[in-house]
């Protein structure tokens, strides 16, 4: 093993989805620039809290220089993180935080605020009244809860004439989300808009609306990816929220390396979020944070 390079494992919440692949790409970019070794790993879905703990344990067994961690549960990993702290391994949290002061820094997006922005955009596009629905990827994971609540609470606070008629969960699976969308449209023929809370959900919503032969439904998505970008270009989707996953990955590794070197790192690294649509998606600022 070439142990001369710093080794920094990133334990994420997922692996196969495009969002996590983009985080990985950012991490790899930073690793190349800073000449460190990075590995990236995450469980199959965001319910597998204990599988993630096992991954963390295996990562610690490798005596890493530092550790990046996107906690599925804000408390469950604390004993292991303590172990890391005792072994003087700096921990950088990414994507969402941990209920503890062990992580030296947290590189994340404010999902609540981002979803609230989606709600504002939706309200604007449907004229501040009518029925809307949500297709969310997960009922219990942090991102699922925050994006749902961010959207719903904003609508409730600010748009009394908008009614949320249905919130359903499709596990981020495009096919399931498609079927869900079609059922929602079937049950609510006068539906004005649908918010898809992650990439898989958003693509499912697009598919479902298309298969139902409807063109009058406003769709707001979340994250990016080739299909979502195409849907926006085609005008099927009005717009979407994007985080900066590449930035998250990049900043996490960068902060980890800094921490290993004993430099101080900022406690909170807000990597930001953006609303993009046909009009701005090709601007340099936005296209930099979109991914395929």
């Amino acid at each position: 093993q070439a142990q001369d390079k710093l080794y920094i494992p990133l334990i994420s919440k997922g692996f196969q989805h495009q969002f996590w692949q983009a985080v990985k790409a950012g991490a790899d970019k930073a690793a190349a620039e800073l000449n460190v070794n990075v590995t990236f790993e995450g469980p199959d879905n965001e319910t597998m809290v204990d599988k993630q703990i096992d991954m963390l344990a295996a990562a610690l067994a490798k005596h890493p220089a530092a550790l990046g961690f996107a906690a599925l549960d804000s408390q469950a990993a604390i004993p292991l993180l303590k172990q890391a702290q005792d072994a003087k391994i700096p921990v950088i949290a990414f994507d969402s935080g941990v209920d503890s002061d062990i992580p030296l820094a947290t590189a994340s997006t404010d999902n609540l605020a981002a979803a609230a922005l989606a709600a504002d955009k939706m309200a604007g596009l449907i004229g501040n009244k009518g029925k809307v629905a949500l297709v969310v990827h997960d009922q219990t994971s942090r991102t699922g809860i925050d994006r749902r609540d961010g959207f719903v609470n904003r609508i409730k606070e600010a748009y009394p004439d908008i009614e949320i008629v249905s919130i359903q969960y499709g596990a981020g699976d495009q096919l399931q989300s498609t079927e869900i969308t079609k059922s929602i449209l079937q049950a609510n023929p006068d539906l004005k808009g649908i918010f898809g809370a992650n990439e898989g959900s958003a693509i499912g919503v697009v598919n479902g609306v298309r298969e139902s032969g409807r063109s009058d439904v406003v769709i707001i998505g979340y994250d990016s990816g080739a299909a979502q970008k195409q849907a926006i270009r085609d005008g099927i989707m009005a717009g979407a929220i994007t985080q900066n996953p590449i930035g998250i990955g990049y900043e996490t590794v960068k902060a980890a390396v800094a921490a290993v070197k004993g430099e101080t790192v900022p406690k909170n690294i807000d990597t930001g979020f953006y609303y993009y649509d046909k009009s701005n998606m090709d601007t340099p600022e936005i296209s930099a944070v979109l991914y395929d």
């Binding site: 196969q16 096919l175 498609t178 693509i203 080739a226 299909a227």
Partner: protein, 330 residues
């Protein structure tokens, strides 16, 4: 019924094909309940949506039925479906070959992978559960490797989505916009029913599930037939892969795991015995329909997600129980 029966029943007519249709009454009951509960349920558009939602799981379940009738199990149907979709993506999008190549490649990839599972089971005597569990994981990983962990879009093949979503039927019978995916489901069901009921391969499916040793001692090449059956199941998964890829206009490499449970559930709800030797395709289709009707109905009624799950579980149990009672009374 009898018209359907002729075409669909998987061959064991005399031994009471009706009896095997465990779940038909339950399906009808479900449809009636949902129709009364919501005016939006029994509309052409929704019925078509239900059928379309059945197509992928239905085709997978048909494939799983074959292997289950032999007394085996195939846990790899879901990830094999994805693998075949990815192969189609590679052939059509990465290599830019015309559509027919993609179709053939997906089905051939399915058959080859099925043949490998079959070889593991028949020649190397690995229990089907282990062999196909292994294949499930291998194919899941390979789909990610081959696709580079990202979806492959079929934008270079504009006809591709038509495989599943446009409607040949509406061209013939205007006003009946049944999408091709549904048509394919029923064609596959008809073909496999025929194979099961009328061909040597089908006969050996039942025979292997009934008493493999007796079949071997009858001088039959049981290993060869078993491999052929797994290969056929694989090819059918290839068709499912084309259907799902065409509907999503992309091969999604991360999708697929978990689909095997839905498929097997449809098979078992449809009255096929997991211990082999008995089963019908019609039953499987009904099983798959029960599952889609249930989900669709509960979603239309906007039942909260957690209660949807509870109700689905309960209704599956009640449906099978009710039909077993009815069957016992006859």
């Amino acid at each position: 019924m009898s018209a359907i029966k002729l075409g669909w029943d998987a061959g064991l007519k005399s031994s009471g094909a009706y009896q095997k249709l465990l779940a038909f009454a339950s399906l009808v009951a479900l449809i009636i309940v949902f129709s009364l509960a919501s005016p939006n349920f029994l509309q052409t558009s929704n019925i078509i949506a239900i059928l379309q939602a059945t197509s992928v799981n239905g085709v997978l379940a048909i494939g799983a039925t074959l292997v289950i009738i032999t007394g085996g199990i195939d846990l790899s149907v879901g990830t094999l479906m994805t693998f075949c979709a990815v192969i189609a993506g590679v052939v059509l999008t990465y290599w830019g070959l015309p559509l027919p190549f993609g179709i053939v490649a997906a089905i051939a990839a399915g058959a080859v992978c099925g043949l490998i599972s079959g070889t593991l089971v028949a020649k190397m005597r690995i229990p089907p559960f282990i062999a196909t569990l292994g294949m499930m994981l291998i194919l899941k990983g390979l789909s990610l490797v081959i696709s580079g962990t990202k979806p492959i879009y079929f934008n270079g093949t504009p006809n591709f989505p038509m495989i599943s979503t446009s409607s040949l039927i509406s061209a013939i019978v205007p006003g009946l916009p049944i999408p091709n995916g549904v048509l394919i489901l029923f064609l596959v069901a008809g073909a496999v029913s025929y194979v099961l009921g009328r061909t040597v391969l089908g006969r050996y499916c039942f025979a292997l599930g009934s008493n493999e040793e007796a079949v071997r001692l009858s001088g039959v090449n049981t290993d060869g037939w078993k491999m052929a059956i797994y290969a056929l199941t694989g090819a059918i998964c290839g068709i499912a892969g084309l259907l799902i890829a065409s509907r999503l206009n992309s091969a999604q490499p991360a999708l697929g795991q978990g689909y095997e449970l839905d498929a097997i559930a449809a098979v078992v709800i449809g009255g096929t015995s997991l211990s082999g030797g008995r089963g019908t395709i019609l039953g499987t289709i009904i099983g798959a329909l029960i599952m889609s009707v249930l989900l669709n109905g509960l979603r239309i009624l906007s039942v909260a997600q957690e209660w949807q799950t509870v109700l689905t579980g309960s209704i599956i149990i009640v449906a099978v129980y009710a039909d077993m009672m009815r069957r016992r009374r006859n």
